[in-house]
Symmetry: none
Subunit: 213 residues, 4 copies
DNA sequence: AATGAATGAGGATTCATTCAT
DNA sequence: CATGAATGAATCCTCATTCAT
């Protein structure tokens, strides 16, 4: 995973870097949740991470590096969890349902992190942003693959563009569960939300619902 | 419009307040687009608005007030434009299509503003946020009404929860066109995007596509 | 005097800039004397200048600007004083003596400032240094002119290179009175120092001392 | 050489101290040349010296100790080289010429070091400065001795004060070749410079040039 | 003896806000 | 009403120094 190497550390011990950054990301996320990236001071971040400001700067170069590490880590975490729950051979409607449910579940579990990322990503530098956007695309690709497999195995006639857009929709709807919780939570449980969105998707893909058989 | 009164001004002349705030919002939006709320200084905002920092503070109390005025104004603008293009009696699939297209078009036209709002709204104060979220709900309600009318007039059997979620989806998909333009623009024109999303929605609402008649 | 414009100020009022910078230079010089440029903090400089740190930064961009202003000002002051005391038509040995004496006197009066400049000039930026070195050359040129006039009027045979070096020597000997005071003061009064150095110079220029007549 | 003992080391092994400090001085000088004492960090100095920051502090107590060691060493080096090239019994004009030439040559060879010392000596502590100034006086004394011997052997009538000042002048003119190289190098080679300054000196000392005899 | 991770005081700079003119 | 100079708290970041390994 070479991407994290891009953030320069003064400390040499690689293992220590891993440990400290883990602490840092944890501390930072909890702070960012509370007050956002800009309002969280580096001192606060250091403190929340369990070490001094001096030590913080042994593991990063600029405050912004922390944001990058946080975003990067959240994506990795989401993908790691998702791939762990996404074991399939053939993709049926059931598989798709389970996939979406798994993803939404993760978004629900990581609500705060997701929120942080969506609100703060814009503060990333011109160099860091593409890396993060790329990870977002990887997420989309996971669902593109699934839907494509589904479409094929069901013998549906869905153009590639529709497949991709459907994948984008799924990804966004997962995030939406996090960033619109103020509205959605009042009306839906996660299960209801998942159920409805999945049905919408399946209807959209196969307007004549595949008769079993 | 009592909500804008909540931002206190030192100046008394109401008309002048209107004028200056208009200038201010214009200047602020263009700055926020470029560097975000936090990185834009009050001096810069005053300058971009065409007056001095002293004058700026005659019309607001705190920097955050500007953000509130900006967000508020963007929502008003979106709604105003949308309602202007949304004249309907009965709601057919065609009406719905046109409504969605109109909304997406507005999101496309106001891309920068929408982006600003989505990225900066979290910086609003605890007092201001509800106002803005309420405006967001008003947007949802517009589509709830439309979809409900459509469902009724088509005699479809769609539960209220599904109607509301569909409305949320539309609203989010409009915003998505703005905040995911980095990915979507590469693959879709606004027309293609609108066409696909609309088809998805209609399929979702009436899996047995309404036989003409 | 366009050179001071090179240091950007936020404040617009030119007259105010003049006044504040004068205060600033005064405060800075007295601090620099005491602890040198690097050890003087911007806060201390602001305080010594009679205003707040915020105000200080309304009149400069970086700490280094202060050093530039200080050096620039010292040279101007030295030259201004020197030219004021250097009114001559023909240049005789007497004129030269008086010129040197005047210059050494100024160096004596401005000992602290001269010391500051000599010790801190190296901290000037790559852009500022040439300006300051140029002023140093102007000083040399003053004595080049004088010596050249003297040599001519005495009908001496001194090559240009010797003239220039003699001028450099005078300039350096003046500074030397400031930066070697720890050693020289113990043995010479300013008058003795001036007398000796002048005699050295005149002997050097006209080894056969001009017979009266 | 008891003076170096004044800088305390944690390490006991005297030979090791010698070796490490030699490395240190070498590394430090090259760094100081480049960025000056204040801008060179202890980490950089350690690195340039070929060991770790921890090790650096085994051989000194404070950063400033390094500066003292450097200055001290430069003076020792200069004196050592100079005395090595200064073997004389009787002092004739020729001897003096050669002595000055040797000294200027050394100043030329050690330009960077000389510069470093002149610009940074002021950062020495109150305790260290006198030691260094004393070494400077030793340099002066070398030339005082020479000139005195010359004056005597030539039967000249030059008062002691003039002798001392002439010695100061020589020392400063050597340094001047280093710290004014930006101006002098454009006009003189070292040989020309030496030739001119020597002639000035001799003329100054014996206005009636000693008729050979 | 050597190392390098940890520390935190300290320093430069910014910027929201005020207020006299 | 408009202006813009003044303010100083707040913030990012550096770096000399220490000390456990």
């Amino acid at each position: 995973m070479p991407n994290k190497q891009e953030v320069q550390a003064t400390v040499k011990n690689e293992e220590l870097i891993r440990i400290r950054r883990e602490q840092m990301i944890k501390g930072a996320v909890s702070l960012f949740k509370e007050k956002g990236f800009h309002r969280a001071t580096t001192r606060e971040i250091a403190h929340a991470s369990g070490f001094s400001i001096g030590t913080l700067y042994e593991y990063i170069r600029k405050k912004e590096d922390i944001l990058y590490l946080v975003c990067d880590q959240i994506y990795d975490e989401v993908q790691w969890r998702l791939r762990g729950r996404l074991q399939y051979r053939r993709v049926t409607a059931e598989t798709l349902k389970k996939g979406i449910a798994a993803y939404f579940k993760i978004m629900d579990e990581m609500q705060d992190e997701v929120l942080v990322m969506y609100q703060e990503a814009k503060s990333l530098s011109k160099e860091a942003l593409p890396h993060v956007l790329n990870k977002e695309l990887e997420m989309v690709e996971i669902f593109v693959d699934m839907i494509r497999a589904f479409v094929r195995s069901e013998g549906l006639d869905v153009p590639e563009t529709a497949v991709r857009l459907a994948a984008h929709n799924i990804v966004v709807q997962g995030q939406m569960w996090a960033f619109r919780r103020w509205a959605l939570r009042k009306q839906y449980t996660l299960e209801e939300y998942t159920e409805l969105q999945t049905r919408f998707l399946l209807n959209a893909l196969c307007p004549d619902p595949p008769k079993k058989g």
